[in-house]
């Protein structure tokens, strides 16, 4: 968690103070997200493979691509830049890929809280970045028995935004880097590592809001 604290302080230092007249806006988002491998397990050493025929080559696990829904608040910082605070949720599942195919092993709700910055870089094109934390709420069994750590996450995004009927509509692709570890994996001496999460989303920002 120390990395999250460092990032929080860094972003606070990096952001200019909001003008007193800045209007807080609200945003809803919907999209889909999935991950690369969160566990890659070579199962056995070469000598074991030599002595026992039929040992599986490798097991890998990832989170299935699933809907991702969010709500947030947007605070204009400059003409082209705004700060975004968002929470979102994705009802996903952990999938295992092995020699015999792919199977679901656990339902997982992925909750995230992010603080970031979004900026128009050229015409409608936007860049965004942020950091926060992910929480994996899985069944208390298998890889999630005993619970999971809150994972620090970094996010980058690229997309476009357009004003429509007084509101702003965004479409963007996102890439996140986060840690993943659970008590059960630690007990099995499987170490935590970094995971790439990717997704696409659309969001709508209300022009009106609270001052």
């Amino acid at each position: 968690m120390h990395l999250t604290v460092v990032l929080f302080v860094a972003v606070m230092l990096a952001l200019p103070p909001a003008p007193a007249s800045a209007q807080v806006r609200f945003e809803v988002s919907a999209g889909a997200a999935g991950t690369g491998a969160v566990v890659r397990d070579p199962i056995a050493t070469g000598s074991v493979r030599d002595s026992i025929p039929g040992v599986q080559d490798e097991l890998s696990a990832s989170f299935a691509t699933a809907p991702r829904l969010g709500i947030g608040v947007v605070l204009p910082m400059r003409t082209r830049t705004e700060a975004v605070m968002r929470v979102s949720w994705s009802p996903s599942s952990m999938q295992v890929q092995e020699d015999g195919g792919t199977r679901d092993v656990a339902d997982v709700g992925i909750f995230e809280a992010l603080l970031g910055v979004r900026s128009r870089v050229w015409r409608a094109l936007e860049l965004s970045g942020g950091f926060g934390g992910l929480y994996f709420n899985g069944d208390d069994a298998g890889p999630f028995s005993g619970g999971a750590d809150i994972a620090p996450v970094l996010e980058g995004g690229f997309g476009a935004g357009a004003d429509r009927a007084g509101h702003r509509l965004h479409v963007r692709g996102i890439v996140q880097l986060h840690r993943f570890n659970t008590d059960a994996l630690q007990n099995a001496r499987i170490s935590g590592g970094s995971v790439v999460r990717y997704g696409i989303e659309t969001s709508l920002t209300w022009k009106g809001g609270a001052r």
């Binding site: 199962i43 056995a44 039929g54 092995e98 298998g142 970094l154």
Partner: protein
């Protein structure tokens, strides 16, 4: 200046996070013991991946012993299930013989199954099963028909676990024996040659898994089976 420093910290943090290894086990499985069944040749016996293995606890005449067995079973099932990190198997308690794959009993109680074709062995703890076709083990295991009043047509019971009733009063013994026998139920077809392992021959020295026991069951469930119950 402060803003630039902040952005630099963000960039460096991102780099540090991104450059770490993907999630990997600290070591691959190397320290195991032989788990294959010595049938006509060395055969891998295990339940199909993703199986729920339903165990019926035979109540018998002694309620205290029945409670002891049920408690020890729940504990042992949790220990083995904790090794099934990715849903390889799940041991649960069945509510009736007709919904079970395995029946567990104290030896002094009559068997609620027809065991004439496959007679349980005699030991402090023993897991009994027979091949449907002794010349072709891959054909699967012989079912134990339930005795009336249960439905004798039910052919789902493939293993019988018998625990010697005289072991019940010995503190901790039921835990150790039942945990050991569930290892055989899962498919560990041999005894460990290492005396500190749960799956060693004779009286189990412990009621928990050694690192070697855990490695062995994990490898078993990532090895292609020759025989499935």
């Amino acid at each position: 200046m402060i803003r630039r420093t902040g952005l630099l910290i963000i960039a460096l943090s991102a780099l540090a996070l991104g450059c770490q290894e993907p999630t990997l086990p600290a070591t691959s499985i190397g320290d195991i013991y032989e788990f294959r069944l010595n049938a006509d040749s060395l055969r891998v016996l295990r339940w199909p991946t993703g199986s729920t293995i339903r165990v019926y606890i035979n109540h018998g005449a002694d309620s205290a012993n029945a409670e002891l067995m049920a408690t020890a079973f729940e504990r042992a099932a949790a220990i083995w299930n904790s090794q099934a990190l990715f849903g390889e198997y799940n041991i649960v308690r069945a509510s009736s013989i007709e919904t079970s794959d395995v029946v567990m009993r104290w030896s002094a109680d009559p068997t609620p199954l027809d065991v004439t074709a496959c007679v349980p062995g005699f030991s402090a703890g023993v897991t009994t099963f027979c091949f449907l076709d002794p010349d072709d083990p891959a054909a699967g295991l012989l079912p134990f028909p339930p005795l009336p009043p249960d439905n004798p047509e039910y052919d789902g019971v493939k293993m019988v676990v018998s625990i010697l009733s005289s072991q019940a009063p010995i503190p901790g013994r039921a835990d150790a024996l039942i945990t050991h026998e569930l290892g055989h139920v899962l498919g560990i077809g041999r005894h460990s040659p290492f005396p500190e392992d749960l799956m060693t021959a004779g009286t189990p020295p412990r009621a928990t898994l050694s690192r070697r026991d855990a490695n062995t069951i994990r490898l078993l469930y990532h090895t292609e089976p020759d025989i499935t119950p």
